[in-house]
Symmetry: C2
Amino acid sequence: MSWTNPLLDDRDVAFLLDDVLEMETLLAMPAFAEHTRESIDLVLSTCRRFARDVLLPTYRQLDQEPPVLERGRVRLHPKMREIYPQLMGLGLTVAPRPKAAGGQDLPLVADTLANAYLVAGNLGAAGLVMLSRGTAHLVEAFGSRALKDEYMHRLYSGEWTGTMALTEPHAGSSLGDLRTTARPTADGRYLVKGSKIFISGADHDLTPNIVHLVLARIEGAPPGTKGISLFAVPRMRREGDGWAPNDVAVTGLIHKIGYRALPSLAIDFGEHGDCRGDLVGQPGQGLHCMFQMMNAARIAVGLASVATASVAYQEALAYARDRLQGRPIGARGGEGEQVPIIEHADVRRMLLRQKAIVEGSLSLVAWTARYADIASHHPDPAERVRAQGILDLLTPVAKTFPAEKGYESNVLAAQIHGGYGYSSELPLEAWVRDQRLNSIHEGTTGIQGLDLLGRKVMAKGGETLRALAADVARTVGQARDAGVSASLCDRVASATCTVVETTMHLGALGLAGDVTRMMLHSADYLEMVSLWLVGWQWLAQAAAATRRLGAARPEEAGFYEGKLCAAAYFIETDVPRVDQLAWLCRSGEDSYGRMKPEWF
Amino acid sequence: MSWTNPLLDDRDVAFLLDDVLEMETLLAMPAFAEHTRESIDLVLSTCRRFARDVLLPTYRQLDQEPPVLERGRVRLHPKMREIYPQLMGLGLTVAPRPKAAGGQDLPLVADTLANAYLVAGNLGAAGLVMLSRGTAHLVEAFGSRALKDEYMHRLYSGEWTGTMALTEPHAGSSLGDLRTTARPTADGRYLVKGSKIFISGADHDLTPNIVHLVLARIEGAPPGTKGISLFAVPRMRREGDGWAPNDVAVTGLIHKIGYRALPSLAIDFGEHGDCRGDLVGQPGQGLHCMFQMMNAARIAVGLASVATASVAYQEALAYARDRLQGRPIGARGGEGEQVPIIEHADVRRMLLRQKAIVEGSLSLVAWTARYADIASHHPDPAERVRAQGILDLLTPVAKTFPAEKGYESNVLAAQIHGGYGYSSELPLEAWVRDQRLNSIHEGTTGIQGLDLLGRKVMAKGGETLRALAADVARTVGQARDAGVSASLCDRVASATCTVVETTMHLGALGLAGDVTRMMLHSADYLEMVSLWLVGWQWLAQAAAATRRLGAARPEEAGFYEGKLCAAAYFIETDVPRVDQLAWLCRSGEDSYGRMKPEWF
């Protein structure tokens, strides 16, 4: 058919920029002096065109013919060789960085929305942008002058690519147990030795070199996380005027079920005792440095989740408008013509749920980017600190809600296709497979729960959570002023109180020394906070839609009506679960706390 | 490793039979005079051994090398030729039928539990048992003497296999729109013509013949469902002393993402005007007849869902006990040895959730089979009618809860494996793919919701629901007597009231003519009833475990403690959602009711 999947709804993206994200105050900051709503549109239109015309048409090929490992090297699909230079040519890898680093100070809000199209077009291919950006940014932030000269621009430009090499086979998420070592050499460098697993992009045939940012322990360093340092370890190292292999070997290719354009590998550093690396940042500061990249990567995973849910939602929406089947309730018995399945209430339910998840998540991720912009660029240092705190708190939520509910959304998109959605002749099932990884990589959902409750909301005696609650309260006020129904405003306001009170209760448990009990329902706590915050986003959108609706032309009004329906759906259906989750967190319900391994 | 996945927990199956399913009253019925707890154990042990030793070891091969279509015929994996005769040799296909049909009057409860092992071992392969049984049973129930002589024993024995051919490409679930026609011929047979899609087992190389049970419209029959009749259409038909092709052609092989041992096909009947079939049952009674098979198939899908969740749960449990990673909360900083991940509360949460879903669903499906046994065999006709009503009501629930929550359970099993669960080197992802179909085939989840609310609970003025509520109330009483905590008993008792009141409210809407409003939240209604009923099952298990615990030997006590934890988990975490779902059903929340197709 001639229909092309739009990947994201352009009207929704424009709505966020024009009516929800308060871009006028953001763009008023001096750092963004060269950017306007129009210049942002230029970036968006370039990316969305490329995503639709180039990335999406290659998606299924890259999924069906994943990378292969041959004689120790990874060969990507030939299409990747075509796409990759164009993808890097968009310049998004470096655009949000300052001019000094070769960038354009593009607001992360704009960058996020532009990237959403690329990721929706082919998340495996777009993953390379994230890896190159993250590694370059790490070198920019923590590398020596020499390291910057050697690596930074090459990574930002895509001349080389980068990886983040954290995980080891025996330790998984428990980074404190990593065993990779780094022995200082006389010339100030290090001999690195160890095995890593699940390293995305750790080998390929796109660029002449790959820079691995490797967590390792300098010999003699203490055990646990505080003994970990960060090293830049290239695949090929300078030797005289030329380049020599740096003793980095691919030992296995993971047969991933999704994200298949991008290979995930097991690699060995220093198998022959000849792998050289350079320290990035200070000794013992490896995790601190790496978490700059990890935090960005977590938000990028959230964005990838939104994008993967969005492309499937658009596909399901088009199918539901087109596919004739059955008749409305009350017109049974074979009378009349079959209707498009979107006429069935339960199909609309599945579509509206997808819309609520996709557009609510996109809004949350974009607001997270907005806090990141403020944290980096607000002229007032106090505002920067405030925004950084909220950014840190939002990170596990912006990663996890889109990943978990995006998966549900992708499953619904396939479900709407009935038996056809169970066939690999349509891409629905592939997006389901892709989405699955987002609850695992860059910290599983379980780990995000521990991070949110154990670190983020407890930071600064709860001050950050109160700051975020104040921002939510401001939105509730705006929604009331705009005339959004009191029931929706009340639900979000009530959820704010519930979340704050529950957090205080759990914090008190922790202060009293009962950390086990405090943390027992960390998964429920994460879900509670997520529902509250996505409810907040929907209330903000409802307020904006209500303001617009009065003066909307008839052909525009439907879009705002749809926003109000989605807001009502999410706030009436999902936000009330905040109360029940709060009860679980507080009640002492300890079934899996008590459960002994041998009782299963 | 030498560990073999047990597929199901044998202790759990024994617990259901000894303590939960009230087998003594069931086996006291005259029809089951030849069966005892011991004879049932014999059937179980034969099936579980075959499932573990023969079926499971072939599972991954059959998944990875699915059937192929070559020159119009389907070739299955050679392993299927080895397995199939052994599978049919177990005799389970016919065992629950009466002696007159070649069976042994095996209680369906026992049959269900025995089949669970087979399906857990390889659900695609075991699907053939269900198809042969269902088609044979249809011929037994509705076929003429001649049809029975020709087909029934051959299908029950597995000499031939059968299919249910309902779905057509343009109509999907809307059976009233099917276009396949049947023209009477002078010899009392019919010329069948039409296209069907998603027909499981419609071609293969296992047996010399395949009998398709085809829904079609006799020429001149009225439109809609009341014009549909049922036909038996063999692939090869008798011609003189030999066999001739019956103009049944395979037109396509669906590339399914799971259930891959069993092919799903598009087929054409009568492309050359030479496809002969025989009427089964009365003209216009096609749907009525087919729903005997469909209802059994729906419960079989529920059982397949339980089994698929169970095999993955067992795999995750073994992995979590074995895999060392991290340390308990409070012992951070790299001190001490890593612990098995089952020591982490959030991993135990994921395991206990799987246990609650798997064992709660198995219990529900087994109770559904128990009602089926009573409906067929109770000496008192009133009890048979009562049980048949409850069986009908339970069918959409016993299909959907295991399918939907089983999928969640399979995803959790993969999640526990971290990155390894995202690789096709382990079977976790394959079971996730398999499970996905269970929310689609034999009536999607959306259709089950319409069936439950639109037909089942409204039948006989709500009498059936009241009968079921009385059975739940009896369990609540038993639980109180056994000393189960009042909080758990109260939650289930309260959910019973909520479900009954909500149903009355919705029924009143329907009687007042507002069927659209009554049916708007059919999906929420189905989930509400499901949580209530699985809560009921867990309360029954908690009562049984409490009774046992007092006198349990120390090495047995842990099993009962685990049951109590799982019961508490489910009843405290999931059953409270009944209130919120009831509110959605009753409140008039109509976001997707109002939503217009063009507003998305």
